[in-house]
């Protein structure tokens, strides 16, 4: 993928404090505890992978962070601010972003409309009744996003007619709209071809330095290559934190995770 321009000038003064801090977060569905007592901190600009077998609670963790499901217990802090009770859309407006595992796109709308929505969602004028002019910054921003995820040729096609890879690209593009501070990528590489995976790695690697992200990925080749920290989850709990190198060489992790099959 080509060079991705920075969303922010590199010298933007950032908020003090860590990007994300989870304190004893628990989420229960009835009697079932999908995640239990999860605590960890992600520094501003940090890139972290969350790995673990299926059912380890990774996606639930994302849902709790973004507010799709409220936490049953525990607190979530975002750049020093307690967002546990903040509605999902407000967290997004604060600079949090996410992609979804199985793409949740607006299948009947066009690619352009999808990106446009992502741009408008974090800007003012969400209720604007006027169609924006071509020179309108929101349209320019949309067009740039389109270019960045290289979907110009299909801009006016409904999403339902896109290939899987294109849909994943669009999903990422939507997460990049506005000025994200922390992005949660939920298995962005799933179902991609080797070529597409390479592009994805390039794209992740080229994200501006201040833009941290958390990545759920089964493909450890990808996961461990683009991150600085790794959290291993098992049965809804945090098993281990460490650098990619440490995790790769950890016997326990290998036993419960890799032993269970990389793509289990």
């Amino acid at each position: 993928m080509t060079i991705v321009t920075s969303d922010l000038p590199a010298s933007t003064p950032l908020a003090t404090g860590d990007a994300l801090e989870l304190v004893g977060v628990t989420r229960a569905f009835g009697a079932l505890r999908a995640i239990e007592d999860v605590s960890f901190t992600v520094a501003a600009g940090e890139r972290r992978a969350v790995i673990g077998a299926n059912g380890a609670g990774k996606t639930t963790l994302f849902n709790v962070i973004t507010g799709d499901f409220p936490a049953s217990a525990g607190r979530v802090h975002f750049f020093g601010e307690d967002i546990t009770e903040v509605p999902a859309y407000d967290r997004i407006r604060m600079g949090l972003r996410r992609t979804y595992q199985s793409s949740l796109l607006f299948r009947d709308l066009t690619v352009w409309d999808n990106l446009f929505l992502a741009v408008r969602g974090v800007a003012r004028g969400r209720f604007d009744f006027r169609r924006p002019r071509a020179s309108h910054p929101s349209r320019v921003a949309t067009d740039e996003l389109l270019e960045r995820v290289r979907l110009q040729p299909v801009a006016q096609r409904p999403v339902s007619s896109l290939s899987h890879g294109q849909q994943r690209q669009l999903e990422i593009g939507m997460a990049l709209a506005g000025a994200p501070r922390l992005i949660l990528f939920d298995e962005p590489a799933a179902g991609l071809s080797p070529g597409e995976r390479r592009e994805l790695v390039a794209l992740l690697g080229a994200l501006p330095d201040h833009m941290g992200f958390i990545l759920i990925e089964h493909d450890l080749d990808i996961a461990l290559r683009v991150v600085e920290q790794v959290t291993v989850m098992h049965n809804g709990r945090v098993l281990k934190h460490g650098t990619p190198h440490q995790i790769e060489n950890d016997g326990e992790v290998a036993a419960i995770y890799m032993g269970g099959g990389r793509h289990a």
Partner: protein, 396 residues
């Protein structure tokens, strides 16, 4: 909005968060981009004119000339009534087709606006009616209707799908019974008679032709408004909420706020329709907001098809023609049977209403043409292209 303005808007202005986003935006490099989203509006109205095809002109001419070639009865009772009912049903099409919220209370909203016209304006019940000037009354009626619609929306957006239908039906019935039982304000069962449009600019707007053009103006205005709005940020976001509210909230939108706003917009349209309806009938009674009319509006909208803002007007014409002439076609007074059967057939065989049939016809015609042109080739290629063309973006 200037680029600088926009930059400011993109920033998170909350002073508490010492963080600043946004970016310097370069002017668009290539203006010849194919994006239709750009194409439709990139040169404003100039571009929009290009979309106008021969059929638009033909239809516009037809509706303009119509009252000159038919007797006054057709001008008023068929034309005028269809336009007014179509306008009220348009509000439902907007709400249901683009917002995914099927409200049966649109007639209630129209009725509330109508009642306000009767109560604040002049009527045959001077003990209640205040006789305020018509322009003030109309403004207040539309404001009141919109407010009522917002409240109904606030109450019902917590629910989805079928719950919405039932709750709006129940809210509508509550208003019906309130209007029927309250004499101090709503004059109970009798309602208000002799609520006539004013004489403005020397024109008696109650006469068939002036009324027709008045209704036509607002119907066109409503149609264009909806057509414009569905491509504006608000409209696109509304369709997003319709398709996946959770995803919208993960993009920074508040689905509840958007839905309530959609109710308000639909209520605004329905209120204009309600003012015209009370003028059309010259009266308003609880019967005008009862179950049968609430469901009739749904029938009108579904009959025409909810995929396009022209649907409700087509539905209204068919409905009004049936209502007036069904009794001439069949021996017994079985109007309801006919309307019920027509409605059932539409629902069973054409989910997109009459518009759906129109599309199928076009598809069939284009297929025939394609076949005759490239007869030997019988691949599947045309199908995918055809479907993509028949179901353009932003529609279900």
């Amino acid at each position: 909005m200037s680029a600088a303005h926009w930059r400011k808007a993109m920033n998170f202005t909350d002073a508490g968060r010492s963080w600043s986003g946004g970016r310097a935006i370069a002017p668009p490099r290539q203006t010849t981009r194919t994006a239709a989203g750009s194409a439709t509006t990139s040169r404003g109205w100039l571009q929009s004119w290009r979309q106008i095809g021969a059929r638009h002109v033909a239809v516009l001419l037809a509706v303009l000339v119509y009252p000159w070639i038919v007797p006054p009865f057709f001008t008023y009772q068929i034309g005028g009534q269809a336009l007014v009912l179509g306008l009220i049903a348009l509000s439902l099409t907007f709400l249901a087709g683009y917002g995914g919220m099927l409200s049966l209370a649109q007639m209630t909203v129209a009725g509330i606006a109508g009642y306000i016209v009767a109560i604040l304006g002049a009527s045959g019940t001077p003990e209640i009616s205040l006789g305020w000037p018509w322009w003030l009354v109309v403004v207040l009626a539309i404001a009141g209707g919109t407010l009522a619609a917002t409240l109904i929306g606030w109450l019902s957006v917590r629910t989805e799908g079928i719950y919405t239908i039932m709750i709006t039906l129940a809210v509508g019935m509550a208003f019906f019974y309130l209007a029927q039982q309250n004499y101090a304000i709503f004059n109970g069962f009798q309602g208000f008679q002799k609520v006539v449009p004013p004489v403005v600019l020397g024109v008696d707007w109650r006469q068939p032709m002036p009324f027709y053009y008045l209704a036509l103006f607002w119907a066109l205005a409503g149609y264009l408004f909806v057509k414009y709005l569905i491509r504006a940020p608000f409209g696109i976001a509304l369709q997003g909420v319709r398709d996946n509210a959770r995803r919208m909230s993960a993009l920074g939108f508040s689905p509840v706020a958007h839905r309530v706003a959609a109710y308000a917009v639909a209520g605004f349209i329905a209120s204009i329709g309600g003012v015209l309806l009370v003028w059309y009938n010259g009266l308003i009674t609880p019967g005008s907001v009862g179950t049968s009319w609430m469901i009739n509006i749904l029938i009108v909208a579904v009959l025409g098809g909810m995929r396009h803002p022209v649907g409700p007007f087509i539905g209204a014409v068919v409905f009004v023609l049936l209502q007036n002439f069904a009794i001439d076609l069949i021996d017994r007074e079985r109007f309801n049977l006919v309307i019920g059967l027509v409605f059932l057939v539409i629902v069973l065989f054409s989910p997109d209403g009459l518009l759906g049939w129109w599309d199928k016809l076009r598809e069939w015609a284009s297929r025939r043409m394609a076949q005759s042109r490239t007869n030997p080739v019988r691949g599947n290629g045309w199908r995918s292209i055809g479907v993509a063309q028949v179901r353009p973006a932003g529609r279900r």
